[in-house]
Symmetry: C2
Subunit: 338 residues, 2 copies
């Protein structure tokens, strides 16, 4: 990692099915210099998130697709090296969506300053960042768990699910997680304090849900889709809310599998609603203010899986789509600030 | 029809697939006499609605199933013959859910009085009754069409769809109906004033929707399900609302077909929500007050299909599930009041 070379991960060709290192390439360029109103940063942390798989498809969704030759998008934490804007100075720690690269030039308005002493820097990409804010928005605007209700969280040990479930616990709900493997399930119950956690790799989902949710399911925070969605939908209660946040189980599929028959939505007056966190940007600062004290006092728990070096970013994406991460998936791109 | 015999249609055996006259039988009893606080009515009009198919299944949904030997449930308009309650007198015209029978005894609290001069009596079972209120609640609470938006209404000539579409027109939306056959489509466009109507029996649904909804679909009022649901969901816009009111296409099915893959709900932030009109009973009187002037001045249009005599009630149910009705399906059980 030198200050002279900007290394960027660009899309080489679109994946069919699972993306991997072969779909990307590293491009090196001289580090650019910031113009007026611009800021040069070096990347310290890069966030890897399931939504990135969608950007690799050649379709316009709520965001434009990445085109071959373009730098992959992604949230980062970095340090200002040079600034052409009076609002930023070298040494400032900043967050922004600066992509999979070692250095980046940003308009000042695209960055926000971070208090490096308030929380570990990586927390601003996970529990205090986009995933945490997603969980908060989903529970606030759609899930609205109430005392005594039963809430099911898929991908319960993930960056979004772990926060969503802890928020439901704070609201007084009974919370059941679903995660892959005994280690994750143990952590979800022991550290996060969920009432139960189902290992979706073992046994029968229908009976596991019946056993852990004897009073039915009032809120489902959907991060996964697939067989779990069918199983949970069949056990929803009247007036249940489904936060449609992600369906990572199908992100690598080329043909989308059919969904559940929706007849139950009528008789049970279910509300199924999609969520994109960037629709309500004010929630980001709102959540940071709310949750920072909980991170500081240790009452809001999180975990991270860290891969080292920008070159590992494609493998990190492969891994998160396979569920190989345990908590927030991160790439350590550059050294911590001095 | 005599004043001495109470004739009731009771469930004989549960249908598998399509229900018909063979699943019901007529039981005759002496007309009962009202006790204190009770009212004896003779039925004039009986409403036949798709939801009745659900009551024939041996499952508890939002309502209990009809058991073999029990009188079929249904909304009625009747005339008071004898009263054990000071609030009602012979000759009063009343509405209530008194079931498929010629006469009934009701607790006074289960009836409401109708002004027989304000609108045709049958209108209180259709445009001003449960179906009209369903359309109103669905559009008010979930659909919320806005000026310039595109609204698609399935079963557009039916008792619910015809009102739902006219409400969307009043809200300034562009409204596209879907109905079965050229006569219904003509009426939907000419009388109801929808901007277009697709005959789902002809041609390709996907291309017909693209042609009639060039700006995509913002609100879908779902009465039908099946292939139409898949086609509409594929053309929903960001932030679309789906009023899940009915899926009559599958009410006779024994195995529910799969539904649409729900991935789009996330990226498009769609809200899919179920509606049962009885959840908000205040809406009934609210809607009658709002819509009665529109019925009187002829600006709210409706149509009726009337079958004659209580014995035809089972055939009316068969017919409405086949889409053979044109507008509100009714059975004329007894003579108009003198």
């Amino acid at each position: 990692m030198t200050n002279d070379t900007q290394r960027s991960v660009v899309l080489k060709r679109r994946p069919t099915g699972e993306p991997g290192p072969g779909h990307f390439e590293i491009v090196s360029n001289p580090v650019p210099q910031p113009g007026a109103g611009e800021v040069l940063t070096r990347t310290i942390w890069l966030s890897i998130d399931p939504y990135m798989r969608g950007r690799l498809r050649e379709v316009q969704t709520y965001a434009a697709p990445i085109m071959p030759g373009e730098v992959m998008t992604g949230e980062t934490i970095g340090e200002v090296i040079a600034s052409g804007d009076p609002g930023f100075a070298p040494g400032d720690i900043v967050g922004g969506a600066r992509g999979w690269q070692s250095h980046s030039i940003s308009p000042a308005a695209a960055l926000y300053k971070i208090d490096r002493h308030a929380a570990p820097l990586s927390a601003y990409l996970g529990v205090l960042g986009m995933p945490g804010t997603t969980a908060y928005s989903g529970m606030t605007d759609i899930g609205q768990p109430k005392k005594g209700e039963t809430v099911v969280i898929s991908a319960a040990s993930g960056a979004v699910g772990s926060v969503a479930g802890q928020l439901a616990k704070r609201a007084g709900a009974r919370v059941v997680g679903v995660a892959g493997g005994p280690d994750k399930c143990l952590w979800v119950q022991e550290a996060l304090g969920f009432d139960a956690c189902i290992d979706h790799r073992v046994g029968n989902l229908d009976s596991a849900l019946r056993d852990t949710c004897p009073d039915g399911i009032d809120v489902y925070f959907e991060n996964v889709g697939g067989a779990l969605q069918h199983a949970v939908f069949a056990q929803l209660n009247a007036f249940a809310r489904v936060v449609m946040c992600g369906m990572v189980a199908q992100y690598n599929e080329t043909e989308m599998p059919p969904g559940p028959n929706l007849g139950f939505v009528i008789g049970k007056r279910v509300r199924i609603q999609g969520l994109i966190v960037s629709d309500n940007p004010a929630r980001f600062a709102e959540w940071r203010a709310l949750a920072s004290p909980w991170v500081k006092d240790g009452s809001l728990h999180y975990r991270e899986t860290v891969l080292d070096g920008l070159d590992s970013a494609p493998a990190a994406l492969t891994g998160i789509l396979r569920g190989e991460n345990f908590g927030k998936m991160l790439v350590k791109v550059g050294a911590d600030p001095a």
